[in-house]
């Protein structure tokens, strides 16, 4: 495997890691307003309190790695999606400070403001991620000079909006399973009901999105003939999805959560397969697409970065393991909580 392909793969790993990890805490945010009592809202926020920041670092590192490995993609996509990225930034800023500020004051108005801000920003960020994926699947109007040649309206096609909704449903389901793991008693019983409802919504949107993708997005399956192993991912995806209700019925929440993680990983993988070897497909002319070769940094940089990544990754996994271990078990709101 050459370095360009390796970095395509590593970006996929970072993206999947981000989608799985921040996916459930965005999901918790999406579901935040569904509970009314202050104590329950604090449980929600504190279930992700110690870890959401680390989860978001996956996005920051994904951005940094994209900048470093494929600067042209970074420049084209970020400047082309200017308004969308600004909205995403506002959402991420509000999300971060909502958690930090919310419980610092007793006043009801103060708390409600940050509750709403937390929920809306989580939903908006998720929706925008979905829209971005949708646009990447469709391809973007990229000209011969590697520059984006469209406007905001080009990014709001029905398909992209559908993928946006699908992302919200996926993370809401993922978040509800996570909350089921972290809560107890009466609250947990109610969350069990939500798991079914969010799973149902997810399933409907999954089927619908899949059908539309197969019919409308020829790019999605272009690599299937050359790489038949992709069918294994499809199979894994279907099995993981089917396993979620099975695990819920069996009462094995951890199993359901693992299945939900596998579902997201498989979807990210299929997204990567649809793009490869391009990162941004030009809808104007395929030869103007930004591929892992014409948009990449020099071989030397890719090699230095590979070494940095391989040196750093074991540490990252070790820290994450320590943190998740320290904060394992059910959430209790205490003196040091949000």
């Amino acid at each position: 495997m050459d370095l360009n392909t390796l970095w395509f793969l590593l970006l996929g790993v970072l993206l999947a890691g981000y989608a799985i990890l921040d996916g459930f805490d965005l999901g918790v945010g999406i579901l935040h307003l569904a509970v009314r009592k202050d104590h329950e809202r604090r449980i929600f926020m504190n279930s992700i309190g110690p870890i959401w920041d680390g989860n978001e670092v996956w996005l920051v590192t994904f951005g940094g790695a994209l900048f470093a490995a494929f600067p042209d993609v970074y420049a084209t996509v970020f400047s082309g999606f200017y308004t969308a990225f600004m909205l995403l930034l506002f959402a991420l800023i509000f999300r971060a400070v909502s958690m930090e500020f919310r419980s610092k004051r007793e006043a009801a108005g103060w708390r409600t403001f940050w509750d709403v801000s937390f929920c809306v920003s989580s939903a908006l960020a998720t929706f925008l991620f979905g829209v971005a994926v949708g646009n990447a699947m469709l391809g973007m109007p990229i000209g011969p000079n590697k520059e984006f040649q469209g406007g905001l309206a080009d990014l709001l096609s029905p398909y992209a909006l559908l993928v946006g909704l699908f992302a919200v449903a996926t993370f809401a389901m993922h978040g509800s399973i996570y909350l089921y793991l972290k809560t107890e008693g009466d609250l947990r019983k109610r969350i069990q009901g939500w798991m079914w409802r969010t799973f149902g919504t997810f399933l409907v949107l999954y089927l619908f999105t899949t059908i539309v993708t197969l019919v409308q997005v020829p790019l999605a399956t272009r690599n299937f003939t050359a790489h038949p192993w992709v069918w294994l991912v499809v199979l894994l995806n279907i099995m993981a999805i089917a396993n979620i209700p099975r695990a819920i019925v069996l009462g094995r929440a951890g199993y359901a959560f693992a299945s939900s993680c596998a579902t997201i990983a498989a979807l990210t993988c299929l997204f990567g397969v649809a793009l490869f070897p391009d990162l941004v497909h030009s809808s104007l002319d395929p030869k103007w697409s930004l591929s892992i070769y014409n948009a990449a940094s020099s071989e030397k940089t890719l090699r230095i970065m590979r070494n940095i990544a391989f040196l750093g990754m074991p540490f990252v996994i070790a820290y994450s393991a320590v943190v998740y271990w320290v904060f394992r078990g059910k959430v209790h709101v205490g003196k040091f909580s949000y």
Partner: protein, 474 residues
């Protein structure tokens, strides 16, 4: 001034980076202080240190969250507003950014969780370890970002590939890029600035408690530790700053000329302006008070050798002189003020009457915005002084912008950032004030410890141990 994409993007970058940089210096500086407090606690098991560590951790957490929330904007903005710059530097700058993500951000964010939420979940040793890791992560992250920025000031370890619109810098020597001529000096200066800021922050809050006669033992302990750190760092800033200015004279002479408003090279020694109003059109300094030959002596160690002036550079390669001059000079004056304030406080501490000098404590309460200002001014001098270049001598700022973005988009985002940052800043001050008013919580019931003992222990510790923790931070 035209409100085109270039001007608007520059305004937005200045706005967002200056707002962002209100937070990281305190994160870096307080990180060091928390490590020293927890270390003192581990050695002495004196609850006062634990109480202090817990209190400053809370302040740290709020500040850190603001830094994270505003920091992600900086990363995204390279792509959204400075796409051409991103294409040009991605190969060089990217590996530093990737290293920052892998080595610094994961470390910081992971252990921050243990630091903030883990007091009752892990042992004091493990907690101390987490504090060290967070402090280290904050320093790592400053290393990589200063390396990347220094590369823009003094590019090294690269070659240019391609021509015209497709030209970009590619790395040839990673370590030459990392240790480019300005990175070590600038990193040292940035870190010193962070520690001065944190020291003044802690002294401000502690002095406030002392004046209000609240949390007196806690406040004395914190004030003493911070004063030691603040004094050493203020003196270090002056000494290190001199080295750094000599380096700038070598590597970015146009910037030094602008910092000193040195319009004409002349034949003999170059004066150093203490004050003055540089006039770029008439190319002279109005109403200036100058020490003759001082600049030549500072730069060359020779009072007769002229320092290269702006007349040696084409007019279109001049940085904005007035802004560079004012920000640089004001920073120096503030630095001198920090030395005076800390030395005066040290004098009274030596006399044993520090906490009786109410006027001095009031001065420290209100001095806290000044190191913030000094940190900002230092960056203004560095970044405005680099103009008109985004990458010194290679890529003009005017060429670095995004081609796919139009002015109204940037105007819209500036308005949004202004509103959101105003709201956030108000909320931040509100929460910060709330925490400071609330103060530290005693960790043991009062009857178990005699206050006399605590003061005794604290005084004994700062006498001998006070210098050890600061020593670790250098």
């Amino acid at each position: 001034m035209d409100l085109d994409v270039l001007t608007l993007s520059r305004i937005q970058f200045a706005l967002t980076v200056m707002f962002h940089y209100l937070f990281p210096p305190l994160t870096i500086g307080l990180g060091g202080l928390m490590v020293s407090l927890e270390w003192s606690y581990l050695r002495t098991r004196d609850r006062l240190y634990e109480e202090a560590a817990k209190f400053w951790t809370k302040i740290f957490a709020v500040n850190f969250a603001m830094g994270v929330a505003t920091g992600i904007v900086m990363e995204f903005q390279f792509g959204t507003n400075w796409a051409t710059y991103s294409r040009y530097v991605g190969d060089v700058f990217g590996s530093a950014l990737a290293a920052e993500g892998i080595f610094a951000f994961f470390l910081e964010s992971g252990f921050l969780a243990v630091l903030v939420f883990g007091w009752d979940k892990v042992s004091p040793r493990m907690h101390f370890f987490a504090s060290c890791m967070v402090a280290l992560g904050a320093i790592f992250s400053s290393i990589w970002i200063v390396v990347a920025n220094s590369w823009q000031q003094t590019p090294a370890g690269f070659h240019i590939v391609g021509e015209g619109l497709n030209a970009r810098a590619e790395i040839t020597d990673f370590w030459a890029m990392v240790f480019n001529p300005s990175s070590v000096h600038r990193l040292a200066h940035v870190l010193i600035g962070c520690y001065i800021l944190a020291a003044f922050f802690v002294m401000s809050v502690s002095a406030y408690y002392l004046l209000r006669r609240r949390h007196v033992d806690f406040a004395k302990t914190s004030f003493r530790q911070a004063l030691t750190m603040g004094t050493i760092m203020s003196l270090a800033a002056a000494i290190q700053g001199d080295f750094q200015a000599k380096k700038v004279a070598q590597t970015q002479p146009a910037k030094l000329a602008a910092m000193e408003a040195n319009f004409h090279t002349g034949d003999g020694g170059t004066p150093f302006y203490l004050f003055g109003l540089p006039d770029e059109k008439q190319q002279r300094v109005k109403a200036g008070i100058a020490v003759p030959n001082l600049l030549s002596w500072l730069v060359h160690g020779d009072t007769t050798k002229p320092v290269k002036g702006l007349d040696q550079f084409p007019r279109d390669e001049w940085p904005p002189v007035a802004m560079t001059f004012y920000s640089f000079h004001l920073m120096i004056w503030l630095g001198i003020l920090f030395i005076v304030m800390t030395l005066v406080a040290m004098f009274y501490r030596w006399r044993g009457t520090l906490f009786e000098q109410r006027w001095l404590l009031w001065a420290f309460v209100f001095a806290v915005p000044l190191p913030y200002l000094a940190n900002q001014l230092g960056w203004v001098a560095a970044e405005v002084g680099r103009q008109p270049w985004a990458v010194y001598g290679l890529l003009r700022t005017s060429d670095a912008i995004s081609k796919a973005v139009v002015a109204h988009q940037v105007l819209g985002s500036i308005i949004m950032f202004t509103l959101i940052y105003a709201l956030l800043f108000a909320a931040f001050l509100y929460v910060l004030n709330d925490k400071i008013q609330h103060g530290p919580e005693p960790v043991t019931p009062p009857e178990k410890t005699k206050p006399g003992d605590l003061i005794g222990v604290a005084a004994a510790r700062t006498g001998t141990g006070g210098s050890t923790p600061t020593g670790e931070k250098q």
